[in-house]
Assembly symmetry: C2
Homo-oligomer: 553 residues x 2
C-alpha cells in the first residue's frame, strides 16, 4: 500500500523533502501545502533583488507547483494554510483560499513552517512603510516602494544577517540607511574583537550605525501627499530619525502557533523539538528547518540556527527516514557567510560569547595572512580568528577579508566536522599556486600557531587584556622597526626591533613579564622565542598591532 | 653544548627548516649553504614575472642572507655548493666561489637540494635560446630574451605545470606559443575525461598544442644578425616548427648526484629515501623537498611529488625532530592548482590512471554545479569529478571552472586528510549565501550522488563506456527536453523528456538495460529513479551530455 505524506511548508526543507521522497518512492502520495502563492523561492536572494543585483524576478522562483507536479508528481496546494494537526486521527485541517476548511489524512507528516519576523509591540509599528522581509509578497511590496523613488532614507531595525543584507542593498540604490541595533555590535556570530571589520566597511559605504540603541516608538508624520508619508523613529536614547521606510529585521521566531493544540512538543521559544531522525515526540510527524530546535554540533547543546543549508539537509534526512532508510542529523555548526560591499565575513562553530556562556575554557589566536602569495598581484589581508579548547580541539573560527575568506572558513568548517584539533590544520595539504594561496596556507599558519601554544612554545595575550595589564610587573615591547613604532604604537610600549633584540637583552628586566607585539604577530613570535630561550617570561600579542587597532574600535 | 646544523639548499624546505630551527633553539649553530646567489626566492612566481604579471623583481626575493642573519642568526653562505658528504666523519665538502673547497663538520645535516630540469640528450639542445627555468639566473636570462622583443614565437617542450604556466605567461606577452607534449594530453594530474577543459582554454587563447608528439632534434638556423638566431624544432612526427625560443619543461629529476658516494640511500630515480621523521638511512642526516621520495597519503605507496606546500611542511618537521620534538610527515596527497587564463584547474588525491596502475577498484562521478546560486549574478559552472572506492572512501577529485574551484578541491582535500567517505561530504556544513555557494554546496552534491551510488539507488556509466555500449541489449534515452535533444544529442539515443517519462513507460523495453542521460546528470537521476521503481534496469550518464561532449574531444 502506498504511503500518504503531507508536507507543511514549501520552501527549503519542505521542497527538499518532497523531491527526495519522490525519488525514493514512486508510489507515495505526496501533498505539499503552502500558505502563500510561491513554493521553493530563493529566500536568500530577496535582499539582492530589492537592491537590483538580481534584476530578473522570475529567477527568484526556483520551483513552481506545475513543475513539481510534472517532474516529481507532487500535489502542491498553494494558498493553503495548515491550521490544526490531529495526531489522534492522523489528520490535519487545511484552510484553503479556494476550498475553505477541509481535513486531510496522513501516514506521515512533515512540518516545515519556517520562522517569521519578530514584530515587537512597539507603538506605531503598524504602518505600510514599516515592513519586514520574509516572502515574495513582502519583496514585491518593498520593491514597489523603492521603485517609486520616494525613498531617500531607510531605517533598518536589527543588525542580523537579513538586516545587514537589506542595509547593503538599499545603500546600493543610493538610499541613506541607518541600522539600529540593540546589542553593542551587529552580526552576533562575530566576537567584538572581529566585528569592527564589518562595521567599518558599512560606515565606509555611508551606512549609519546606531549601536546599543533601540526603537522606542514610531511616529507617523502626516504629509499632504499621502504617498510620501514619513516616519519618525524615536530611539531609546532620546534621539529620533526621520525616514521614508523602516525595515524590521529584529530577528525571527518559529512560525509554530498552529501547533499549540497538537501535543507536539515545543521548546521554550516555540521551536519544534525533534530527535536526530528529525522526528517529533509524536510518531510519524517530522519537522525540519528554521522552526526546529537543533543540537549544536560543537557544543552538543540545544539551539536554534535558522540557515538554509541545514534546512535543505534536514529535508533530505526526513525523506530518507520516511522511506525506511536510516538517516540521522548530526547537528548544526553555524557556518555562515555575509557579503558586505567589497568585504566578506564568514564564521563557523562557537564564538567566545557562546563559549563563555557554556563555561568552556578555550584558546584564541588571531592572524592576518594574505589571501595568496604577496608577490602575486591583488593579494589582500585576511583577518582570521581561530578558537580551540585546552586539548586543541577546534571550536570555531571567524574571518573577514576581500578574498579567500569563504575558502578558509569552509576548510576549517570541514575540519571541525571531523572533530579535528588545531594541530591537524598543520597537516592539511591545500592547493597552492601563487594566484590562490601561499605554500603555507592561512589555515596551515593557524595550525602552526595553535600547535605552538598547545606545546607551550608560545604564550599569547589578546588585545583586550591590555586594559588589565599590570604595569608594574610587565614590560610592553614593540618589536617592529623604529619607523613602524613612530607611526603609531600601543601606549606604554618601548621600541626594540626584533632584529636588534639579541643585542639589547640587557635593556629588559628579567623579573618582569615581557609582553611583546609586532604588526601581525609573526615577528612577535620570533621575539618571544628569543626572549624565552634567554630566560624571560614572555607573551606575544596574538594578531599584533593590527588586531589591537581593530579590537579597540 | 650547542648543536651544529648544516642545511644544504636555501629554498622552500631548507629555508623553512632554518627559521624553525632557530625558533626552537637559540643556541644552535646553523649554517645554510646555497649553490646560487639567492635563497628562499619565490620559485612558483618565476613564470609570472616573465609574463609581467609580477612586475617588481625584488618581490621574488622572499629572504636575503642579510635578513636571515639579522632575524634568525643563520650563517647563510651563497655561491657555496656542497659537493660531498662524509657521514663517517660527520662532515661535508663545500665548494665556495670565494673560499675554494673546504670541509665543514656537523651534528645534524639537512638536505634540501631540490630537483633540476631534465635535459634529455636531444641533438642541438645546447643553445642559448633553448633554456629551462629553475632559478633567478634562469629567470633573468629568459626575461632579457623576452624583453629584447625579438621573440615572436616560442616552443614549450613539456605540458606539465611549469610548461603550461610558461606557455600562458608567454602568450600574455603576445608571443605565439606551441606546447609539445609526448603524452596524449597535458597536465598529468587530470584524467583524459577532464583535461579538455584545460586544453580548450589554452587553444581559445591561441596556444597551439602538439600532443602525443616529441622533439626529435633542434636545428640551429644561422642568421646574419646573430642575436635573432632561430631554432627549427623537428618533431618525431616529421613536422618542424621554426621558433625564436625553446623552453624545456619536460620534467625534473632530484638534484642528488653529489650524494652518489655518500652511502645515503637513493631510490631508483635518484630520490633520497627518508622515514616519516624525514631522516635518511644515515643517522643525523635528514632530507626534504623535491629531492625526496614520499609516501602517497591516499595509496600509501612510494612516489615523488615536487610541490612547494609539502616541501615547506617537511622543513618544519625536520626542524622539530632535530630539536628533539617528535614530529612525523604523514604523506603527500598531490593537492595542486593551476591558473589557465580565465580558468582554474585543481586536483587532489589519486586520478583514474594511478588507480588503474595500482589495481584499486573505484567509482567515478561527474557533476556540473554552479559556483554559487544561479539566481545571483556571475555564477559559472564547475566541472567536478570525484573518485571513491567501493566502501566509499574518497580517493581523489579534479575540477575546472572560472570560480570557486580552489575552494571545493580544498574542502575535499581536507576531507581526504581525515579519511572521509564520499557520504561524509553530505554532512559538511559549508558557508552559504547566494554570492558564494548554494544551499547544497557542490561538495554536498557530490556527496549525495556518491551516497546514492553506494546505496545502490543509482547506477551510473561514464561517457567513455558509450563506445562499448551493447546496442542490442540497451536503449539510450535522452531525458532532456525535445528542444535540447534537437540541438545536439548522443548518436543512437531516443528522446523521452523526464517530465513525460511516467506517461511513456510503455515505449521502453523492460528486457533491455536503459541508459539515460540529461544535460548534467540531475534529470537523468530523477529519470533513473522513476524507471528503476517501475522495474527497469537503468543506468545514468554521470555528468550528462556536458561530460560526454568534453570527454569526447
Amino acid at each position: 500500500m502506498s504511503k500518504k505524506i503531507l508536507i507543511v511548508g514549501g520552501v527549503a526543507g519542505g521542497a527538499s523533502a518532497a523531491a527526495r521522497l519522490r525519488r525514493l518512492d514512486e508510489q507515495a502520495e505526496i501533498v505539499l501545502f503552502e500558505r502563500d502563492e510561491h513554493i521553493s523561492f530563493a529566500n536568500c536572494g530577496l535582499p539582492y533583488y530589492i537592491g537590483d543585483t538580481i534584476t530578473d524576478r522570475s529567477k527568484l522562483l526556483v520551483q513552481t507547483p506545475q513543475a513539481m507536479k510534472q517532474r516529481f508528481n507532487i500535489d502542491v496546494r498553494i494558498f493553503s494554510e495548515v491550521v490544526a494537526i490531529h495526531s489522534d486521527t492522523k489528520s490535519i485541517t487545511v484552510r484553503s483560499k479556494d476550498r475553505g476548511d477541509y481535513e486531510e489524512s496522513y501516514d506521515y507528516l512533515v512540518l516545515s513552517p519556517g520562522a517569521k519576523p519578530l514584530m515587537p509591540p512597539i507603538e506605531g509599528i503598524h504602518h505600510p512603510k514599516i515592513t519586514s522581509l520574509r516572502n515574495i509578497a513582502d519583496t514585491d511590496r518593498m520593491k514597489a516602494l523603492v521603485n517609486e523613488q520616494t525613498i531617500q532614507h531607510a531605517v533598518v531595525v536589527g543588525g542580523g544577517f537579513i538586516g545587514i543584507e537589506m542595509a547593503e542593498n538599499l545603500r546600493e540604490l543610493n538610499i541613506d540607511v541607518t541600522v539600529v541595533e540593540a546589542a553593542p555590535h551587529i552580526l552576533a556570530p562575530y566576537d567584538t574583537d572581529m566585528i569592527a571589520y564589518a562595521e567599518q566597511e558599512l560606515m565606509n559605504h555611508g551606512i549609519q550605525l546606531e549601536l546599543g540603541n533601540a526603537v522606542a516608538s514610531f511616529e507617523h508624520l502626516k504629509q499632504e501627499d499621502n504617498n510620501n508619508e514619513q516616519i519618525n523613529v524615536h530611539l531609546k536614547n532620546g534621539t529620533a530619525i526621520t525616514t521614508d521606510l523602516v525595515i524590521l529585521a529584529i530577528g525571527v521566531q518559529p512560525d509554530t502557533a498552529f501547533l499549540k493544540e497538537s501535543n507536539i512538543a515545543l521548546g521554550t521559544r516555540g521551536h519544534i523539538l525533534v530527535n536526530d531522525a528529525m522526528e517529533t515526540n509524536i510518531a510519524n510527524i517530522y519537522a525540519v528547518g528554521d522552526a526546529i530546535e537543533v543540537t549544536h554540533f560543537v557544543s552538543n547543546t540545544a539551539t536554534a540556527i535558522p540557515l538554509a543549508g541545514p534546512a535543505n539537509k534536514q529535508g533530505r534526512i526526513v525523506a530518507d527516514n520516511i522511506a525506511g532508510l536510516s538517516s540521522t542529523y548530526k547537528g548544526t555548526q553555524g557556518s555562515s557567510i555575509i557579503k558586505l560591499f567589497d568585504l566578506t565575513g564568514a564564521a563557523t562553530g562557537l564564538n567566545e560569547r557562546a563559549l563563555q556562556q557554556l563555561a568552556i575554557p578555550y584558546h584564541v589566536i588571531h592572524l592576518h595572512p594574505a589571501s595568496h602569495a604577496t608577490y602575486y598581484p591583488d593579494a589582500s589581508p585576511i583577518a582570521l580568528k581561530v578558537i580551540f579548547d585546552e586539548q586543541g580541539k577546534l571550536l570555531g573560527a571567524q574571518a573577514f577579508g576581500k578574498d579567500g575568506v569563504d575558502k578558509r572558513i569552509d576548510v576549517i568548517a570541514t575540519a571541525i566536522r571531523f572533530g579535528a584539533s588545531v594541530t591537524d590544520l598543520t597537516e592539511l595539504e591545500l592547493c597552492y599556486a601563487p594566484p590562490y594561496s601561499s605554500a603555507k596556507d592561512p589555515v596551515n599558519m593557524a595550525g602552526y600557531i595553535g600547535h605552538n601554544i598547545l606545546a607551550d612554545r608560545l604564550r599569547v595575550f589578546v588585545a583586550n587584556e591590555l586594559a588589565e595589564r599590570p604595569i608594574d610587573e610587565t614590560v610592553l615591547v614593540d618589536v617592529r622597526t623604529k619607523e613602524e613604532h613612530d607611526r603609531g604604537h600601543i601606549a606604554g610600549s618601548i621600541s626594540i626591533p626584533v632584529d636588534e633584540l639579541r643585542d639589547r637583552l640587557d635593556e629588559l628586566d628579567k623579573n618582569k613579564e615581557i609582553w611583546v607585539y609586532c604588526q601581525v604577530g609573526l615577528r612577535g613570535y620570533t621575539a618571544s622565542r628569543i626572549l624565552s630561550q634567554h630566560g624571560f617570561n614572555v607573551r606575544n600579542l596574538t594578531g599584533g598591532y593590527k588586531s589591537y587597532t581593530m579590537s579597540s574600535l
